[in-house]
Structures are given as structure tokens and as C-alpha cells.
Symmetry: C2
Amino acid sequence: MTSGEPTHLPTLEEVARVAGVSRATVSRAINGGSRVSPQAQAAVDRAVAQLGYTPNRAARSLVTRRTDSVALLVPETGARFVSDPFLTGVLQGVTTALAGTELQLVLLVAQHAGDTARQLRYLRSGHVDGALVTSHHGNDELALEMSRLGLPFVFGGRPFDPDSVAVPYVDADNVNGGRLAAEHLIGTGRRRLATVAGPADMSAAVDRLDGWRRALEEAGLHADAVEHGDFTIDGGTAAMERLLRHHPDVDGVFVASDPMASAALQVLRNFGRRVPDDVAVVGFDDTMLATTTTPPLTTVRQPAEEHGERMVEMLLEQLAGSPPRLGGEILPVELIVRESA
Amino acid sequence: MTSGEPTHLPTLEEVARVAGVSRATVSRAINGGSRVSPQAQAAVDRAVAQLGYTPNRAARSLVTRRTDSVALLVPETGARFVSDPFLTGVLQGVTTALAGTELQLVLLVAQHAGDTARQLRYLRSGHVDGALVTSHHGNDELALEMSRLGLPFVFGGRPFDPDSVAVPYVDADNVNGGRLAAEHLIGTGRRRLATVAGPADMSAAVDRLDGWRRALEEAGLHADAVEHGDFTIDGGTAAMERLLRHHPDVDGVFVASDPMASAALQVLRNFGRRVPDDVAVVGFDDTMLATTTTPPLTTVRQPAEEHGERMVEMLLEQLAGSPPRLGGEILPVELIVRESA
DNA sequence: CTCGATCGTGAGAGCGCTCTCACACCCACG
DNA sequence: CGTGGGTGTGAGAGCGCTCTCACGATCGAG
């Protein structure tokens, strides 16, 4: 059944022999076929079909110095990546956008915290033509390293200091998202507002908090009820519990990710608060989770798939030779009103 | 890591020159280093570190005929893959298990239904050393094709007819899962039982239904209340609505995946049924979703990560030269009791 | 000592492909 | 009829690596 003997793969040489032309002509015929006579082209096509020929990528890559593959670099450990519905949405957009190309996706997931050195070494060694970088924490060290690499790349999410660290990136309009959440809660009469923000070392979290704060201040409300979570369910549970302890009179909460928001709903229920009657909750993401909670989440929708697709498009531009456009493309967000607020 | 020049990558040749030995010796020193004197080894190590040398994979692959990468073949379209928490759990296990090796993961997601021809062509062309195949539908065509390829591979989920189609695979004990769900519902006094099963063309769905039916029959209960869904939320909603229409007196439901079970909870609520008071619900998977629903799901836990890890281990055995063990490894499942049943 | 075995080493032949270059051929133009 | 400029083609030189093979040095056994 599974033969131990790996089948012999046909080479360019053999195609050339069968087609009755030279290797060079076959190569031309296969790659876009400029300067190839119709007869030669037809003969090659026939031979290729007959032999079931596919070019050997390694050999081609050796001379062209291209690999026809790009990396998706995930500085998180696998667990975190895969349990975040937003990130999997981005992954979906990436695979969709790549489907129309010849490029393969190599998944480069961090093995443990602080594993970026290994990942960078891989990128530096010419194994891929470009890289997509998702979900980056902390300072802009990674962005700086990537810039030094001289490899085309695109970030998902802006760097912390986009003025001094100029990299191409795609981001959601997180500031406006925070503002939309605030305005909705204020507009529906809530006055004791609080937020479960994301990690203070992620720009997405900072921006959402920023928009939130500004909207509250403009409305003359206090914006000091803030607890941070790490965007996960467990982190959301802990943060929401702290929030209720410190601010028991809260009547409206903006929770900066859907996983954390679903956790917040559980905590509120455990504390005997009704949602939305006693406390209104607004989430962020609008992933699958938002529709499965009770009550369904009112949440700020960010377009995860489109996020991934745009990242690929910006990378393709660079691979086609355009200089990287330093700076970001900001995708719009939108408030989706369901029942939790 | 100093200049931003179009970096010239150091070659074996240069390492050899710096170390004062021949290319052959450097090659030996880098690959396991048998038959290399300690002095030579040390000189090479020093040169490698100094130059920041990394072997060119394409060149190596060209001669060794190995690529040091494996494919994760997803016959589903991206959307489906990424929105299934079980599959993302498997992906996590795969990346974890691969982390300890030199192997890279190439994601091969179907571009559209019936795209397997393209995927098979890719596999056949020697671009990867092996393949992991997840979530396969329908007949055993793909399993047969894979067998013919002569490429090491492992399936996630058994083939439909494991006796005539002998392939290596990892699977959960789905039959027992269906049984556990049934026994729990019966044991808590439910008598009007129904199930939302998975697609009839997936072995996992068939097995869960099988175990369920057998347990019901052994208890002398009717096992004819069955609706099929496609494992997604939307599919679960539609199936649960049909179920309630055809069997309005149901008091216990086994829903064959967590996404479908979360949908079932919504439908039941919309129909004014209380869970678990009026209707008890048991899900399958025990993914993140199971804890975010109201009430939290009682569900059959299948070890998604372990599933992925075992697949990798079985593939590694083959890559190391062992003949593929035709037949399956069945992972145990476990009932997790929460509040929905 | 002599002899064969063992060890560390380097020379060199490719792996399958692309790409430059030279060349033969054809056509229009003066 | 030359001449110049296309156009299609093939020969051949590598890309960076591994691996076989031959060779001198070393060593223990006889």
C-alpha cells in the first residue's frame, strides 16, 4: 500500500527529452513562456501532462533565491494563538488571500515566551520570501528587528510608537471602537461606567482604552474604573471580579475582547447582577462567541478576516517590488447591538 | 545584525575558509559531526557563530531529497477549519509537538470544495516530507489517494471503512462518547431522548450516533429522534429547530459538537424551554465554548491537543523509518458534568 | 618492524533548476 | 543584395549543499 520506494519524480530534463526541445526551452515554457514558439509550447505542455511533471521547488529556489512561501509569525505560544477567535479569524483571511497565489504559508509559532530569537533566525536564513507578524506584545523591539532583516513584512496591529518605528501594518480602528462602546453605554443612560481593558503592553488594548476614556471625559464622566485582563477568558474572569469588588455600583462595562466579555457575563451572573438590566456589557471583536452567550453580546465588530487579507495584500505589493509603505492601514469598526447592552 | 544592506548570507564555503577546513568537514561538523576531530569541530563552531551561518535549506533539500517540513492538509475551506474550536485545538497540539523538532509546518487549506486535486499534486511533488490530514469528509477517496502517494502521512479521524482502507490514524473514542452522553441523560431520569448528530458523511458523527443509539436501545428506549447538523453553529440552530418541531416532548438532547450545542441552547431558550429543568443538553468537544454558554455545558471531552500531538508522533515514527502502523490509535473521552444536564 | 584496520580529511561530482549568452534564422528596409 | 534588428533556441555555467571515494596518518596486533 504505502510503498517504501519513493516514486521517481520526472525532471525538467526528461520533459525536454519527451518534448524534443532543450531544458532552457522547457523552463521558458513553464515560466510564463515569453519567447517560446507555439509549437514548442504545445510540445512542452503535452510532455508535462504526460509525465505529471511538477518543478522541484528546492532546485528552483536555489537559483532564483525565492522560496514561494511566506511565514505567519506568531510571537504568542500556540495555546494563546489558537484560543483567540480574533487571531484565528485573521488566519482565515490570510489563507483565503494566499489561495489566489502560488505562495505557501509556513506557520511559525513561538515555542515558549521569548522565543523570537529562534523565529528571527529562521526568517533571516532566507527560508521564506516575506513574513506576516501577528499579535505582538511589549515594546517595539520585534518591529525594529524585523526592519533590520531586509525581508518584506507586514505587522498586524500598529507598533507602540508608529512615529519612530515606521513599519507597514494593518490595524483596526481601536480608538474609535472604545469610543463607540462608551457612547452606546452613555446613550442608553448608563452613568457608572467601567472597563475591563486589555494588557497595557499591547497597542490594541491601549487604543481601545484611549477612545473609551476620551469619550467618557467629553461626557463629563469619570474614567478611572479600569481593570486589565490578558484578553483570555480566565483573565477576563479575574479582572471582572476585581472590578465588581472595587466598583460595586457599576451599571455599564466595556470589556475589550469577546472572550473576556463572555467571562464577565458569567461573573456578573455569579454576583447576582442581571445583564443588561443591572449592568450593561459591551464586548469587542464580534466573533462566534458573541452570539453564543446569554444574553448575546453587544460588541464592537472588527473585521478579522479582512485584517488578514489586507496584510497579505500589503505583503504581495512588497514582493512585487514596491517599496514597503511605512505606516498603517486602519480598518473601520462598527458597533453591533445585541442584548447585553 | 548591524547593517540594513541586502544581506549576503554566508555559505558553507565561507565557513570552511574561516575555519580553515574543507567544505566536507564543515558539512560533517554541522550535521551530527561523526568522524570529526574535536579541533575541527571547535573551529567550525566558532566560524559558524562568527558568521551567523545557517544552512541553505533549498540547497540541502536538493541533495538530501528531504525538505524538513510537513504539511497540515485541511480539506475544508478555511472558514470551516478556523471556526471549529476542535480543529484549532488539534492545530495547537500539532504546533506544540512539532516545536521539539526541526520540522516546519506548511498549512495546506482547501481553496474551495473539491480542491483536493491541487493539494494532492502539491504533496506528490516532494515539497514536504509528510502530511497530517484533518477533518475529512465523505468516502475514503482521499485516504486511498494518500496511500498511493508513497508519502508518510497520518489521518485525524478514522476512515469510513478502516478494514479495507488501512491507513494510520488517530481518533477519539466517539462511540463511547455517544454512549456516555446517553447514559448520563438516562441516569438523570430523562426518557424522551433525542440527538443532533453530525454530518452523516463523517465517521466521527457516525460513531457518536452509533454509541448513542446502542446505549438507548440497551435501556429499552427509542433512538429514532435524530436530526443532522454540520457541526457549525448555524447548522446546529437549524437542526435543533427541526428537532423541537418533530419531537416537542423531548426532555434530553445529545448534541454532537459544542458549537452546535451552544446553538441548541439558544434555540431552546427562544422556544421557552429551560435548561436543564425542561430539557437537559449534553454537548461534545469540551472546548472554550462549553464554559461560556448559559448554563455551562455538560459535554463529552475529547482531547484535541493530544489528538494533534499523537498525529505528529505517529508521523515522526514514519519519518524515522518505521513502517506506518496501519490502523488507529483511539484516544479516550470523558464526560464533563456542568450545569446543562 | 610490518601490516591491515581505522580515522580524519579534502577533492569533486552532482542534485534540478534558471539565466546569460551566443547563434541561427527570418523579415523588412535602403 | 547587403544590413540591421528582432525571435526562438540550445549550450553551459552555476546556485549551496551532501556524499562518495581516495588518501595519508595513526595505531594495535603479529
